[in-house]
Amino acid sequence: MSDTHAQTVRFVRESMLPEQEPPLAESGVLKWVRENLFSGWLNILLTVLSLAFIWFVLSHLLPWFLNSVWSAGSLSECREIRDEVFGPDASSACFAVITDRWHQLVFGFYPPEFYWRPIVALLLFLAAMAPVLFAGIPRKALWFSAAAPFLIYFVLWGGTIWGPLAVALGFVVGYATFVGLSRFNALLATLGAIVVPILYWLFVAGPLAGALASVLPIGLTFVPSDDFGGFQLSFIIGMAGILLSLPLGILLALGRQSNLFIINKTSVAFIEIIRGVPLIVWLFTASLLLNYFLPPGTNFDLMLRVIIMVTLFASAYIAEVVRGGLAALPKGQYEAADALGLDYWRSMRLIILPQALKISIPGIVNTFIGLFKDTTLVVFIGLLDPIGLSNAIRASTEWNGIYWELFVFIGLMFFICCFSMSRYSIYLENKLQREHR
């Protein structure tokens, strides 16, 4: 190499010097700090102000956390321990209330000897969700997901196992009706698949379960809905609402897009009315008014009513989010599906919805997170969610006067759930992004 240059260039480096570390001021943290935090007068001012603010917040919060008391029987006991250990003026959190009452915040008034049941239910729920959320799991596992709602109901509420089984049988009845009638007429089959199971649930399921239970009494101790509370209650209402509102919201969005006058107008009216009234009003409606409409003597579980209301409320929002996704698709996608001879439902299921839902993921998850947090509103109709229980705990003589520690704990539980949903949504978006481009 050097020969060629030897005649024209006076000096040619024969061997390369090893690369050197850049000077300290040009690398790493120092460089970053200088460039990002102290690059100009305004920047320096903002940095100093921010540091002052962070210092202000931390100097108040940190001692409170660091001096926390984790085991005491009451608030006054907490205060005594603080006076002894940290001095009477020290700020100190009394997390002893959580150690003392966490089971109530989590399980409500569920009988303590049965705490394993909500835990099993949670595990069942996670196992059932896994194949829905992650494509890597064999598709056969979806059968378990389909059966899981009945299993979970049975584990949580108990009673005879024949009840949930009889209800599940209704879906089989509906499917059989559909297959049987679709030989004659598609419309008749659809109607039959709706009407026959409803009749079955109203008139056959109850007696059938009763009869089977008297022949073969298998079951768990029954736990009434009144005993449900705490985070368990929020989680059940929230997750049921989320899982039910997605399909309903999609149907409403399709309905709103439909050319069929009645379906279109019904969907629009439903969405606008549900959305136009605050959730709390619907919850009061659920707790008070429904009793007037339902035939006297029907004992319609309050929790179930709340789940229905929350579902309807969220589905109106989901419908609007999905409608945005549908509208964002180029018209060519609909036309290509039509031109290939796909019928409406197939083109929706195979072509339109996968794309529209992908676009709508952030909005859908946003709605889910909102719904999940809104379940705390049930405290106003007398259900004991974590907020309701925190009031109850504060009403006891031991813990009278405690606020922040309970709210920190409740907030943390909600945060974990909502943050997981948010992360999952990002994971899903990235995955779909990678797959489709």
């Binding site: 180029p330 060519g332 290509a336 031109a339 290939l340 001879g341 796909l342 197939r346 794309q355 481009r437």
Partner: protein
């Protein structure tokens, strides 16, 4: 087309095998007294057209003359208000069964390809055979690979449409239609959204299709293609069929002034 664009006539340099390009006297499409309005706008006026099996028809005309609307009426992407359209012996009416039947017999290729971006090339091609024709998945995949080979992109089968060039996407769109084994193919300006160097590869695919005797209705401004492949050229203006003739006659001896004007604009300079 300007003289400075030698990319297009690639297809014209090739000898075309006409042995299968026979026109039978069996009617494939019969349009009689057809009218269509968009609101008060009369977009198609008194269209009468008979297409025989094996015919290759090129439809041309100025933008907005209703060419797209006409061929979209043939598979009911648009609804006509008056007159009668019979495709493959089935009349197009509001009967959904008839519409689905016709759509599965008639393939359509769009200007903007309209591939399904969330499915792989192979899935794009097998979707309709599996769900509409109820072909077993394995068989559908074999058919799809056969047609992907025919349009010369079998190696792209497992990619997504977004990873392909425009010309490749359009060839996939043609393969996707062919997988349904249609008896009639409709093309709506299949090359207008393509860069010049990709036009030839798509036209080549279409020529091969014509050589096999496919009945084709093709909206295009590729006059080289029309001359070589079409056995009839139709000129539309303001919603009417103004003139139709064999390509040689049509280009060398246009009858109406509107046709002359159009041809001078599109060929001239």
């Amino acid at each position: 087309m300007t003289d400075a664009a030698p990319a297009t006539p690639l297809e014209t340099q090739r000898e075309i095998d006409r042995s299968h390009m026979t026109v039978s006297d069996e009617v494939a499409i019969q349009i009689s007294g057809m009218n269509k309005w968009y609101g008060s706008f009369h977009v198609l006026r008194d269209i009468n057209l008979t297409v025989y099996r094996g015919e290759r028809i090129v439809i041309c005309g100025p933008s907005g003359s209703g060419k797209s609307t006409l061929i979209r009426c043939l598979n009911r992407l648009e609804e006509h208000q008056q007159g009668e359209i019979v495709v493959d012996g089935t009349e197009l009416s509001n009967d959904l069964k008839n519409i689905d039947k016709i759509r599965s017999e008639v393939g359509m290729v769009f200007q903007h390809f309209n591939l399904f971006p969330h499915l792989t090339i192979l899935e794009n091609c097998t979707l309709a055979p599996i769900w509409v024709r109820k072909v077993p998945k394995k068989e559908a995949e074999e058919t799809a690979m056969h047609f992907l080979e025919k349009v010369k992109i079998p190696e792209q089968a497992h990619k997504y449409p977004g990873q392909l060039s425009g010309g490749q996407q359009q060839r996939v769109a043609i393969a996707r239609s062919l997988c349904m084994r249609p008896r009639i193919m409709l093309f709506d300006e299949p090359t207008s959204a393509l860069d010049p160097e990709m036009i030839a590869e798509v036209l080549d695919t279409m020529i091969e299709l014509a050589e096999e005797g496919m009945t084709m209705l093709c909206v295009t401004h590729e006059m080289g293609f029309a001359r070589k492949v079409a056995n009839r050229v139709i000129f539309m203006d303001q919603g009417q069929i103004v003139e139709q003739n064999e390509p040689e006659e049509f280009f060398n001896n246009p009858q109406s002034d509107r046709t002359k004007l159009f041809l001078s604009q599109i060929l001239g300079h």
